[in-house]
């Protein structure tokens, strides 16, 4: 009798865990499948590459999460990747200092275009779909015009290091261990605070997040100390994702973003300056896209005006697979990161297995539909 109630209790907990971490489970299952199908998949070398490939879309997806939470969309991100890549390489070609070129690119291709998008969307209340669709064409056109339609090589010896270098394995290991310590410290502090304010502590949730974090960091430790260390772009992506998570959970702006997505009119009547928040969010996403473009140009050691084509679709897919609701107000960046890795694993794994690109597109599309279907289904059940 006892064992049976114990069993059902365990099953319940497992079901709850699966429901809350469905995308993570899907990620693990995908990884296991690919690992069995190809020996080259689960190697430090391949996983390092996979992580680095994922960061380009991942960085954009962090911004896309914010945009979709406020009920918006940004279709111009892919074109901005191309524009930023062309811009930064051209600026360096003209003799500008690397860091200055990066800064100017971030300001012009990123912040300025974001403000432009946000202005049209917030001031005239035009659907973001249309404004950013227009910007998608404009930015691509600008990239083609500036580069005269041809590729731009990188002349500076320092620039390629940004996207192509690694933090040495030893330092990588130290960083990862430090991250684990930091995790346990915040966990401890969280529990202390919850005790202090008499808030119920959900043991399962703490255990689950501990297991997930420990496993993730353990994997990272193995991968990055065994091969060449943490790639710079991965480090940058990690910092951006962490900053995004902090922004949404711990700042006034984060609260306002969620409130606006949930009920824009109520948010406005609560004194939130909807206009300003929209400007900020749309600037964040274009700036992150520009950063992505710079990293991509650095890794490829050159820029083509067609870089970033269709990136908007991968970024939106990552956000949706990660559980952010298309109707606004709900979503997390940690979910998006998992979503980005699911797309990354699919791309990487299928390429390893030699699945033709055409089929890859079909499979990716089906998986996106599947993810949304699952989301709708689980919401209907809980309603």
């Amino acid at each position: 009798m006892n064992t049976r109630t114990g069993n059902t209790n365990f099953m319940h907990q497992l079901a709850a865990f699966l429901k809350e971490n469905g995308t993570l489970v899907a990620l693990v299952i995908l990884a296991v499948i690919f690992a069995f199908m190809d020996d080259a998949f689960f190697t430090p070398r391949n996983i390092t590459n996979l992580a680095r490939q994922t960061t380009i879309i991942g960085i954009i997806s962090v911004g896309m999460t914010l945009v979709i939470i406020i009920n918006g969309i940004d279709l111009s991100v892919g074109s901005i990747v191309g524009l930023a890549a062309i811009m930064v390489t051209l600026l360096m070609q003209s003799g500008m200092n690397v860091w200055l070129a990066i800064l100017v690119t971030l300001l012009v291709a990123g912040v300025f275009i974001g403000l432009w998008n946000g202005f049209w969307i917030a001031h005239y209340n035009i659907p973001p779909f249309i404004i950013t669709l227009g910007m998608m064409t404009i930015a691509r056109g600008l990239a083609l015009t500036l580069s005269n339609g041809s590729s731009v090589p990188v002349t500076d010896p320092l620039f390629p290091k940004l996207g192509g270098s690694y933090i040495s394995p030893a330092i990588s290991g130290i960083i990862i261990v430090a991250a684990l310590v930091l995790f346990f410290f915040t966990l401890y502090r969280g529990i202390q605070q919850r005790k202090k304010y008499n808030i119920t502590i959900r043991v399962q949730k703490i255990v689950a997040s501990t297991i997930i974090t420990a496993a993730g960091l353990g994997l990272a430790f193995w991968v990055f100390t065994d091969y060449r260390g943490i790639p710079y772009p991965v480090a940058i992506f990690t910092v951006i994702a962490a900053a995004g998570i902090f922004l949404l959970n711990n700042t006034m702006l984060g609260r306002r973003i969620y409130a606006m997505g949930g009920n824009e009119e109520a948010a406005r009547l609560s004194g939130i300056r909807v206009y300003r928040v929209k400007l900020i969010v749309y600037s964040i996403i274009t700036t992150l896209s520009a950063l992505s473009g710079i990293l991509l140009a650095s890794r490829l050691n050159g820029a083509s005006p067609n870089l970033g084509n269709m990136f908007e679709l991968d970024a939106i897919s990552a956000v949706i697979i990660g559980g952010t609701s298309f109707s606004g107000g709900v979503g997390t960046i940690s979910g998006t990161v998992i979503g980005a890795f699911i797309i990354g694993i699919l791309n990487n794994g299928m390429s390893l297995l030699g699945v033709p690109t055409f089929y890859q597109l079909i499979i990716k599309g089906l998986i996106i539909i599947l993810a949304v279907w699952f989301d709708v289904l689980s919401k209907r059940k809980s309603a």
Binding site: T251, Y258, N263, R268
Partner: protein
């Protein structure tokens, strides 16, 4: 007067916690206009929703007979098939389509292969408009480009094209100009001759005298008295039936001690967002003081909510006038400006305007005043925030399983308290409450009343809108009665009677009389 066409017998309709209709009985005849009157929330619209199948059988109790036949509509289509048509306050037309397309929306004239016979659609629509004597509307006009009055005519034509025999008008004139009202009444008289049975829901006493044959009064979901011919009853008697209930000791009214003048509003105007020349607020001036509760009464659509929303900066454009707080002139362009100056507004529509549904009690409580729980760089001190929220939960006696549950899981009264907490945390000097007790149970109402008294005691200037007369009279020390965008009367608590408020509110007594 013709035979009895519609009979509703012993209708009972319950909503969670509220009995909206309690044993309602009435009957309507062919070729007459039966006026259905009552205060806001008396159950008129609910009754009509039962009739039209919006609330299907068996979500209500009682019987509906149409021409002597028992009808139990399970959806609106069945009601339509029984020739019942309702013309709602919010019109059900598609603005982008033409008049003719709207009239024949659900049955285009098609050939076998599904090709629309446009010639027939337009000519049928034209002949229908001619029959009704509707002028100035062409079948090819886009509905969205017509005035509201003409749209209403289209809606009537649509109902009659389905040969409706029972026609219900739900406050049809609230958005119409005088001219349009005349045109509507001419059409109604024509329909009367044709033997259509019409029920006319309205608050406006002067209109009833012009158009109605008999009157039925609803109060608190009950029919009061018999259905009475209009020539056998006076306006006073109708108003008496509408409001005639005693104020029980539900209202913990405190003694008003009028203190200094806090808020002054002078010559406030608000333009109608779409109809040029029409004003939603016209020359509104008033003052609110410390130490008393100011009430704003008036019928729905009289401009009460528009008044407080204008002061709060909720409109993006169209507001002009002067607002002074403690003698200092304010420039309020957006809600944030109002909040920064110490003005708060508990909005009427809790779900659409007050709360972010789906998000936590905690987030909803602090969203208006994040500055109070933030450290530098806008980082929220979560411990401080939770502490603060718990304080409000115990102070306002909010019943919630925790801070992190979605706010929609709470009862209406507790949701309202969450909103009040949100505004209290902005430390308001002036607190507007628009229908603060709508849809919440009596216990919670009394708690809110007590809270308002306490706030007045603490020096907050409280201004309350309510369409419930007992509430206004039971709580307020001064009452502004609004009618058609103007303040028709300012009544002291000693002179205010329900009848007087109703007379000013319905326009049967004009300003200064």
């Amino acid at each position: 007067m013709g035979e009895v066409v519609l009979e509703m017998k012993n209708i009972v309709k319950d909503f969670p916690g509220v009995r909206a209709l309690d044993d309602v009985n009435f009957e309507a005849r062919a070729g007459e206009v039966l006026a259905l009157v009552g205060e806001n929330g008396a159950g008129k619209s609910t009754l009509m929703k039962v009739l039209s199948g919006v609330w299907p059988y068996p979500t209500y109790e009682g019987d509906i007979y149409i021409k002597g036949k028992l009808c139990r509509f399970r959806n609106t289509r069945e009601a339509e098939a029984a020739k019942v048509a309702i013309i709602y306050q919010e019109l059900n037309l598609i603005p982008g389509l033409t008049v003719a397309e709207n009239i024949f929306l659900d049955r285009q004239f098609c050939s076998v292969v599904g090709i629309v016979n446009w010639g027939k659609v337009f000519s049928e629509a034209q002949s229908l408009l001619n029959q009704l004597g509707i002028k100035g509307v062409k079948p090819t006009d886009k509905v969205g480009e017509l005035t509201v009055g003409k749209q209403q005519m289209v809606e009537i034509a649509k109902a009659l094209s389905k040969s409706a025999e029972i026609l219900v008008f739900d406050e049809p004139t609230s958005a119409l100009t005088d001219k349009e009202v005349d045109a509507l009444f001419a059409t109604i008289r024509q329909l009367k001759e044709k033997g259509v049975c019409m029920t006319y829901i309205s608050h406006k006493m002067d209109e009833l005298q012009l158009i109605a044959d008999r009157v039925a009064v609803l109060r608190d979901g009950k029919t009061i008295g018999e259905v009475t011919p209009m020539n056998e009853i006076t306006m006073d008697e109708i108003i008496n039936r509408m409001v005639g209930r005693d104020i029980k000791d539900m209202f913990p009214k405190m003694e008003g001690k009028r203190g200094e003048k806090v808020l002054e509003v002078a010559e406030l105007h608000l333009k109608h967002p779409t109809i040029p020349g029409k004003k939603l607020l016209n020359k509104v001036s008033f003052a609110a003081h410390k130490g008393e509760i100011l009430g704003i009464s008036g019928l729905m659509g009289s401009g009460r909510s528009e008044l407080v929303s204008s002061i709060f900066g909720a409109y993006r454009s169209g507001v002009s006038g002067e607002i002074r707080l403690h003698g200092k002139k304010l420039k309020i362009k957006r809600p944030k400006d109002a909040i920064d100056n110490g003005i708060a507004l508990v909005t009427e529509d809790r779900k659409a305007l007050g709360l972010v549904l789906g998000q936590s009690v905690l987030n909803n409580m602090t969203i208006g005043s994040l500055e109070t729980v933030a450290q530098q760089w806008g980082i929220i001190n979560k411990a401080k925030e939770r502490n603060l929220a718990w304080d409000y939960i115990s102070k306002l006696n909010i019943k919630t399983p925790g801070l992190d549950v979605a706010v929609d899981t709470l009862s209406g009264g507790n949701q309202q308290k969450v909103i009040v907490a949100k505004w209290l945390n902005t430390s308001p000097k002036v607190l507007f409450l628009d229908e603060p007790t709508r849809g919440i149970d009596i216990g919670a109402k009394v708690e809110i009343y007590n809270l308002l008294n306490k706030l007045v005691d603490e020096g907050v200037t409280v201004i309350m809108i309510s369409s419930e007369l007992p509430e206004i009279m039971g709580m307020c020390h001064r009452i502004l009665v609004m009618c058609e965008g103007e303040i028709a009367a300012e009544l002291d608590e000693r002179e205010a009677t329900k009848e007087l408020i109703m007379e000013y509110g319905t326009g049967s007594k004009k300003k200064g009389e």
